[in-house]
């Protein structure tokens, strides 16, 4: 386990210039922050590299940190069946440029999780094949998991059935 972590960090540092400062560790969970421009290249590399072979994208998580710069973060939960190794790949997204490339071409299973992030945070995944809302109704105007959305909802935002 420890060994593979070092291999992963070395490969990312050599091929993509990802420095060690961009990694965090919390209770044994490894998180690596990468720039948005390199996302597709790094993901393709992680999947196709024989030694690493991260063949599963288990989940895509959006987080709203309510900060001035890089308000949102998108976290990819990657798993390698061969090495039984998991880590979190993180990309920061600014509110002024809320686009991020979609990884559906690399892992088709990321389709619905990306739709979910779009539904809840309004982050737009470029070149996603079917970017629709998934939980909320199609005509809903807000993004409910953003921090400014009130817990009780907004009155009148979902029309109730006429009695």
């Amino acid at each position: 386990m420890k060994n593979l972590k070092q291999v992963l960090l070395d490969k990312l540092a050599n091929n993509f210039n990802i420095s060690n400062e961009s990694t965090q560790e919390c209770q044994g969970d490894l998180t690596i922050v990468i720039p948005k421009e390199k996302l597709l290249d790094i993901c393709t590399f992680l999947r196709d590299d024989f030694e690493l072979s991260f063949d599963m994208c288990k989940d895509v998580v959006g987080v709203d940190y309510n900060r001035h710069e890089y308000r949102f973060e998108v976290v990819y939960n990657l798993y390698s069946l061969k090495n039984k190794f998991r880590f979190l790949l993180k990309v920061k997204v600014d509110e002024s440029n809320i686009h991020i490339p979609s990884v559906v071409d690399i892992w088709p299973g990321a389709n619905w999780p990306e739709r979910e992030v779009y539904d809840f945070f309004g982050i737009i995944f470029d070149r996603h094949p079917d970017l629709r809302r998934i939980y909320m109704p199609e005509e809903f105007e807000y993004f409910p998991l953003r921090k400014e959305f009130p817990l009780m909802g907004i009155h009148g935002s979902i029309p109730l059935p006429y009695k």
């Binding site: 919390c26 288990k58 939960n77 817990l151």
Partner: protein, 417 residues
């Protein structure tokens, strides 16, 4: 005279029918495409799943699953309550195995807080998680069989499940929404009465399971309905992020109990059944096999059950016992602080998952050091499993839809969060 009257009467009805605007007029109904809307209220979709199916004759050429009819916003709710308060909400995720959801959630929180629970609590958690697996698989097995026409199996499965629910009733005090685990331990210890009841059940259950299996093992109708139906290849299953029995039925040896061990699973001896076929029948038999393994696990865990406390001795993180709150000052203060302000968590983000009956149930928690999570994301296995339905249904007949939905065993409470 009478005949002509009859004739004119008939022609009037015919006239009325033919004067209606019939926009869809088919030369041969089997050679035209049509859209069929199945659900959200349909007995075979196991909840409020909606499928839009595009048919060519009776063959399915495309499917669009729609989820979200049971969306309750549990992730938003989690951000507005303390870690303790969220435990009852986990019951409502996969409502067929609430105990396992409780275990999954508290394990994630304990990982973030760095709490080590006592050995006895860990063994009891294994027992209840495996109980939940049996309860969930019984429903899955029964309803799959019912969907393809074998009603007896459903009744027999529910009879067994009822016994387990009675044990759960002795154990946790409720039959359905258990909320049994606590951060740092459990709500109650396991009484000798419930251990005895559970052991009795384990003595009878394998025999009953064989009876259920015998109903279907050589049942030609059942096998022909399920064999070779809804096949997903190993490569597709991995790429689509399938987990749990659905992944293992496609020949992938992936079980978090082995691959990312948690609780005391490394100390227990059990097998992980894997099937190579990847069809509905393989998924069905895999669940039957898994129930037998669960029985093995519970037996071992009950034999090895150590004596000792069930809650970690960390007053700043673990709720005190109720009887101490009423009689001791410190416990009263701790309880007040924990209930009102929550545990003070370290800053950071973690992900922890367990092998639930449907697959990998994980919780991603991002904490900014407050009493409530900044972001809690539920990785729901049913959500990922429903995602593969278009692949599974493609080029099958419309009568296979129910056999396929039943075999991937979706629970909409979990998929819709």
């Amino acid at each position: 005279m009478i005949e002509t009257k009859e004739k004119s009467k008939k022609s009037k009805i015919l006239e009325a029918l033919e004067s209606q605007d019939v926009s869809a007029y088919f030369e041969d109904p089997l050679e035209n495409e049509m859209i069929l809307n199945m659900g959200p209220q349909h007995p075979a979709t196991h909840g409020v799943l909606r499928l839009l199916i595009r048919l060519n004759g009776e063959t399915i050429i495309g499917t669009v699953p729609e989820v979200g009819y049971l969306h309750r916003g549990y992730e938003k709710l989690a951000e507005n309550m303390t870690f303790h308060e969220y435990i009852p909400h986990t019951d409502r995720l996969d409502y067929l195995s609430p105990l396992a959801n409780n275990v999954a959630y508290v394990l994630a929180v304990e990982k973030l807080a760095g709490i080590e629970v006592p050995k006895r609590a860990q063994f009891i958690r294994v027992v209840i998680a495996e109980m939940a697996r049996i309860m969930s698989h019984l429903v899955a097995v029964g309803s799959t069989a019912m969907d393809v026409g074998a009603l007896t199996v459903l009744l027999w499965c529910f009879r067994e499940r009822e016994k387990l629910q009675d044990i759960q009733d002795i154990f946790t005090g409720v039959r359905f929404t258990t909320s049994f685990t606590r951060i740092g331990g459990l709500a109650n210890d396991m009484s000798d009465e419930s251990i005895g009841a559970l052991k009795n059940f384990l003595g009878e259950f394998p025999g009953k399971l064989d009876e259920i299996e015998r109903l279907l093992l050589k049942n030609r109708i059942f096998i022909q309905r399920c064999e070779g139906v809804g096949v997903i290849s190993k490569h597709d299953a991995i790429a689509m992020g399938l987990t749990g029995p659905n992944l293992r039925a496609s020949g992938v040896q992936h079980d978090l109990r082995r691959d990312e061990p948690y609780l005391v699973y490394p100390e227990l001896d059990f097998d992980i059944p894997v099937y190579e076929d990847g069809d509905s029948l393989a998924r069905f038999y895999l669940r039957l096999e898994e129930m037998k393994e669960s029985v093995k696990i519970i037996r071992q865990a009950l034999d090895k059950l150590p004596v000792g406390p069930i809650n970690a001795a960390l007053p700043k993180k673990v709720l005190p016992r109720k009887e101490n709150i009423y009689s001791k000052m410190e416990e009263l203060i701790q309880d007040f602080m924990l209930i009102n302000f929550g545990i003070s968590m370290p800053v950071g983000e973690i992900y922890h998952a367990i092998e639930n009956s449907k697959g990998e149930l994980g919780f991603y928690i991002s904490s900014l050091g407050q009493g409530s999570p900044w972001r809690l994301k539920i990785h729901a296995p049913s959500f990922m499993n429903i995602q593969v339905l278009p692949i599974l249904l493609k080029n099958h007949l419309i009568s296979d839809v129910v056999a396929i939905i039943g075999s991937i065993d979706p629970v909409m409470g979990e998929a819709d969060k």
